[in-house]
Symmetry: C2
Subunit: 382 residues, 2 copies
């Protein structure tokens, strides 16, 4: 029996990433590969050092191509079903590092169709509107407007649908059932959808009319989509897209993935300082029953959600992190202190993010590409 | 056991239309309905009198709406998988009559995506190119350019996909399997496709932002698509599309549907007089083994493909048709004579059609609507 589930639409249970690597058939980023990245980039991002980005497909190949002058482009995306939390922003920070380090384009897909197909209560207007709102958070991360293209599937359907069709012809319902666990009761939009998610991996190749490698940074739950894309795209004459995959930023409660459905579990990009204080204040920690006990026995940072936040986003200096950990283990610091520090760090991060997010409204069109067409006008012009 | 099969993708065996009406749950056009049409239109098309257009869904309702001033629009289409034969043109002639008689718009869908999904050996470029070629035949029939909108699914995807998505969310794989007989080995484009064929039934409603009745003239094999559309569209707040359905023009051999896959069985819109002579010369007739025998016993026009062509398209005068039939039954005319007459009629028809077809090249843009967008330009403009 499985004790955890990871699909693009459901992450539950206590995810065992080692098992997942085996289940999915992805590869761990090994020391050799780490060395190669360091050689090329001149640095190594803490998310790599800490194995937050921990797995990949063909990353070695794409770096080798890069070294030989065959530059890749980046592709990632977002399912616009609600507000952005910092668990979403984390991989984008890394994606920005990739863009800056390798000086490459980023194609960013807003899957408004997907979220409409999979969320019973969301209308297409709602997921589409959320695409714009979520794009503000993407832009706030600081991507290069000259090299970043954000689009919604609904708005780019003129380009996407025809290529999705070519991909869809190579995918059977059996494959979809085996890969995603969809059933006979699944709607036909859900069944078709993965072909829309495959297209951006070849968009730049289509535009430039030559085969260009694509690297997809994404959370590990999206791997099934790209497993299918890697199966189909070579049949159409394209490279297999490569990927670099991260774990999930945990929620503030004791579970595996920060969730938008539980407002108190996640720190949203638009949360006020007061909300952050309240949420972190109530976070699950590795503390003991009493201060006295904790001073005697020490805390358990490895199960502590506050420490996970330090580890994954808010204390990027290794020595600082290590000293926090040791002090906790030795009973030299109590949970209140850690919470205060995390609150301060998150509030500072959000203040900065929210400023840039507001500014993003006026520069959205520097990033957003759209094929908006009014059929009414077309018909009347005729 | 079924002795015939009728789906949108396969028509085989000797089709029993009475059984089909029962199987599909469509209604025969009865004398009352015929009378209503005659009252409104002031005439009655031979294809109706002869029950070539023989069945319907909600035709009574849509005529009633029309009489009360709630005008409908027409929607029909073509799967561009090859050249046009006169079996395709027959329902378009009737559709033009509907357009002229009721003074209504026609929306004409070229399902280049469908034919790509279902024809193993056709590329999307091929089916898309065939859309333009086939459109010339549509235009040659003489539709009003001010009231006729021809489009390809691939080119209108910006409009179509978003509404197909809304429809797709209401359709499960089980429904697709039950309605079309698709299986687990079907590709996910085939499974998704029916949602694209449903959209034109609401296109005019979308443009005018009010609910407008839609009448779909089509060959009976397309009914499963619209059965689903009629199920789903009311859930989205639209009228059920109504339909008026025709039988298939038979091939020149002894079978039920003129087929593009057998070049000698069908008369193509671009056939030369010589080709027509050869094909009709080799047609299956109801003649006897010898002229002597036929003069004594008479022929059997009811199984004769030549007579079927007279009946369905080439002798629209009832008295003339009846006299041909009687002369055949009485052994007063031989097959050679009928073949000569049919050849003459088809050649005349095609000469006229081919002339208009060539002229259509220069006026295609008066009919064709497109959302053609070059992503490359979009990206470079940014």
């Amino acid at each position: 029996m499985k004790d955890f589930i990871v699909t693009p639409w459901e992450v539950s249970g206590d995810v065992d990433y080692t098992k997942l690597v085996e289940q999915f058939g992805i590869k761990l980023i090994d020391p050799n590969l780490m060395k190669t990245i360091e050689q090329i980039s001149g640095s190594n991002h803490p998310f790599l050092q800490r194995r937050i980005f921990f797995a990949h497909r063909d990353l070695d190949w794409i770096l080798n191509e890069y070294q030989q002058g065959n530059k890749f482009f980046l592709y990632t995306g977002r399912g616009p079903s609600g507000d952005i939390h910092i668990g979403h922003i984390m991989p984008w920070i890394f994606t920005k590092w990739l863009q800056d380090t390798f000086n490459v384009e980023l194609w960013f897909q807003m899957t408004d169709d997907e979220k409409f197909y999979f969320k019973e209560n969301l209308s297409l207007e709602e997921t589409h509107q959320l695409s714009y709102e979520n794009a503000l958070d993407v832009i706030a991360v600081g991507f290069d407007p000259k090299k970043t293209f954000i689009f919604s599937n609904i708005e780019l359907a003129n380009t996407l649908y025809r290529h999705a069709a070519r991909i869809a012809k190579k995918i059977t319902f059996s494959m979809i059932r085996a890969t995603f666990g969809l059933t006979e009761s699944s709607n036909i939009g859900q069944i078709f959808y993965t072909s829309m998610q495959a297209v951006p991996a070849i968009l730049k190749s289509l535009i430039e009319e030559r085969n260009i490698p694509c690297l997809i940074p994404h959370a590990v739950d999206q791997d099934p989509h790209f497993r299918i894309a890697r199966d189909v795209l070579p049949k159409l004459g394209y490279y297999k897209p490569a990927s670099i995959q991260c774990i999930f930023l945990p929620g503030l409660k004791q579970q595996s993935k920060m969730s938008t459905t539980n407002g108190t579990d996640a720190i949203f990009s638009t949360d006020s300082a007061e909300e952050v204080r309240k949420k972190v204040g109530n976070a699950f920690t590795g503390g003991r029953g009493s201060a006295k006990e904790q001073k005697e026995l020490g805390g358990t940072p490895d199960v502590c959600s506050v420490f996970k936040y330090f580890f994954m986003m808010f204390i990027l200096d290794n020595e600082e992190l290590l000293s926090v950990r040791n002090e906790c283990l030795n009973g030299e610091r109590l949970c209140g202190e850690c919470k205060s520090i995390l609150i301060e760090k998150i509030v500072k991060f959000l203040r900065h993010h929210q400023e840039k997010r507001e500014k993003a409204r006026s520069i959205l069109d520097k990033y957003w590409i759209s094929e908006k067409i009014d059929l009414k006008q077309l018909v009347n012009k005729k």
